[in-house]
Symmetry: C2
Subunit: 405 residues, 2 copies
Amino acid sequence: MKKKLIVQKLGGSSLSSIKKIKRAAQKIKKEIISGNNVVVVVSALGKTTDYLQSLINKTDVNADLKEIDTILSSGEQVSSALMALFLNKIGINSRSFLGWQIPIITNKSYGRARILDINATFLKQIIKDQVTPIIAGFQGISEELRITTIGRGGSDTTAVAIAAKLNADRCEIFTDVDGVFTTDPRWIKKAKKINHLTYDEMLEMASVGAQVLEPRSVSLAKQNNVSLIVRSSFKNIKGTSISKTRKIIEKRNVSGIVFSKNDSKITLLGVPDKPGVAAKIFGSLASQDINVDMIVQNISADGKFSDLTFTVLENDFFKAQKSINKIKKKVGIRNILPVSKVAKISIVGIGMRSNAGIAKEMFRALAKEKINIDLISTSEIKISVLISRKHILKAVNALHKAFKL
Amino acid sequence: MKKKLIVQKLGGSSLSSIKKIKRAAQKIKKEIISGNNVVVVVSALGKTTDYLQSLINKTDVNADLKEIDTILSSGEQVSSALMALFLNKIGINSRSFLGWQIPIITNKSYGRARILDINATFLKQIIKDQVTPIIAGFQGISEELRITTIGRGGSDTTAVAIAAKLNADRCEIFTDVDGVFTTDPRWIKKAKKINHLTYDEMLEMASVGAQVLEPRSVSLAKQNNVSLIVRSSFKNIKGTSISKTRKIIEKRNVSGIVFSKNDSKITLLGVPDKPGVAAKIFGSLASQDINVDMIVQNISADGKFSDLTFTVLENDFFKAQKSINKIKKKVGIRNILPVSKVAKISIVGIGMRSNAGIAKEMFRALAKEKINIDLISTSEIKISVLISRKHILKAVNALHKAFKL
């Protein structure tokens, strides 16, 4: 039987204590003993990156990104070498590889670099030599021979990129949860682990707050058809596998419910209905680094003015109002209606594509609980609604039950 | 006037808080504004290396040195990039350089590598381009493209090696003391800062505990005739300069008094006076990783047996006794006489070479205080005596006064 090649990625929460590192090393050993080749990708230990970022924050907001990347990349440098030490100790021949040692070549967008190439020939030779490579995630090297980082959560992307480049049989993302859940298990007791998801479903789950997998890495996996598995570092259970299609046996309409609890909503009443107005409004917000999530605008009834609503994170609520107030006159906005403490709930599932009744079912479930819907926004495999934050748990529980999750 | 080139080395104690890093950055800026070119070499921030070592200690004593070096070198990676950020913030165009980026090429003795070569052409171009290089001390790269470290306190050696290679006008070692003192100012109130020392004097001062400069770096400076200055990171005072010869105006016999307080003494009574015995005794201690400091053996009176005394650190006292007991019978040692709580005092100065009266003066000063001398050992520019530890302060004060320091 041909040996399988498995990429195993260990996140910071799986490496937050010596005890956990030892346990992770044992997991890797077990896979190797079972007869497979393993390539390990590690994040920094525990909260290391936060600590390094706090040092950087004391310098300057406009600091040199090249120096920042040099600092941030040191976390994975430590964890990769430390993991190699622990593995060697338990009899697994391994060695650490930093981004520049492989190399993992990226472009020059320091702080959010894109991986351009990985020297797979070199890694394949290492594996052939019976050495288990422990690769520092999150980092690479640019053509000017400086260390780059590929953005927060970048180790997921490193792992998937390596799995793609090496044609690995699968890429396992070890984390501190059992897998991807139908909804957030910290809030909803009845949340259940999902066994299979498609890339598209995972993308919708991740981007609205599932926080298990970096969305970029899911996109990359989709692009290269890398078989992904999200699983617990601590328990010996199956996890969630993510691939191109779901098995027919799991046919269901809605796969999960995701929600965010930090939103606030700003409605602009009487916005002139002419070209360039939206660009001005969102340009003003973007220039203040305010991220806008949902945007809903109805067609205007009179052809002259319409209402426009968008949501921002609670943190940016006042900044966003200030920003809009500044351009209010120039743009000709009649009135601003800010509402904080709203929440977004989304149901996600590829089943929606072919089932028009899902939206109706969602709205009916919420209505039954007397929960008012403020905004609605839909995509091919997701329906999101905005509601008052105080109803959030009631709403998620109702939907969880309605869609039999 | 030609610009001078100055290498400035900042130790961990000069970088142990954001406030101190800012102050160090201002010092560098001042030197640059005064019209000189500066190359900065940094240690890790504060106690970083101790923290990293504590992680490593949790793995294995026989761990892979290559991985350990990868871990340990991360401290200077962070501090060099952080210093570059702070300097850029205050208008000094600078960038960090890791060992592999210059490169600083070392041999493959991981953990205590020797610097083989430094790409000076590259560094000179950087300086010509008006960029201040901030070099990560303590690290290099081996021919197999792995990170090496050059031993504890190695940043001093990095600084001197770079000063030598660049033909720098001087190499300034910034530290948390005002310079090198006539004796330890923490214990002896009357200790005074020394203005000038020769390399040889500094070597004797350092190796017996002055702890200001890594002895290896002093040897390297001597070899390449690098003008060294030890000075305070915090106060604006002159420090101690170290060079080949002392100025005539400073003619004095004794430059300083150094002492250690962690010694214990083991005397072997009746050791057979035949070839190979000493080798067996110290081989046995070395195999237990016990460092021996002073060794004194008199010629035997009867040509058959002699007495041998050596000192070890208090920590190794019992281990050393055990080790000797094991070989006692085989070697034919008559008796073992262990004495703990002794102390070593050394007077250091190139003046001794040509002045036979120094030793007499030392012994007379101690006798006047009724301090018994257990052991005596001398070198060309140093006389060391072993005394009971309880007399240590009295002895140092007496000698400090006797030699008018």
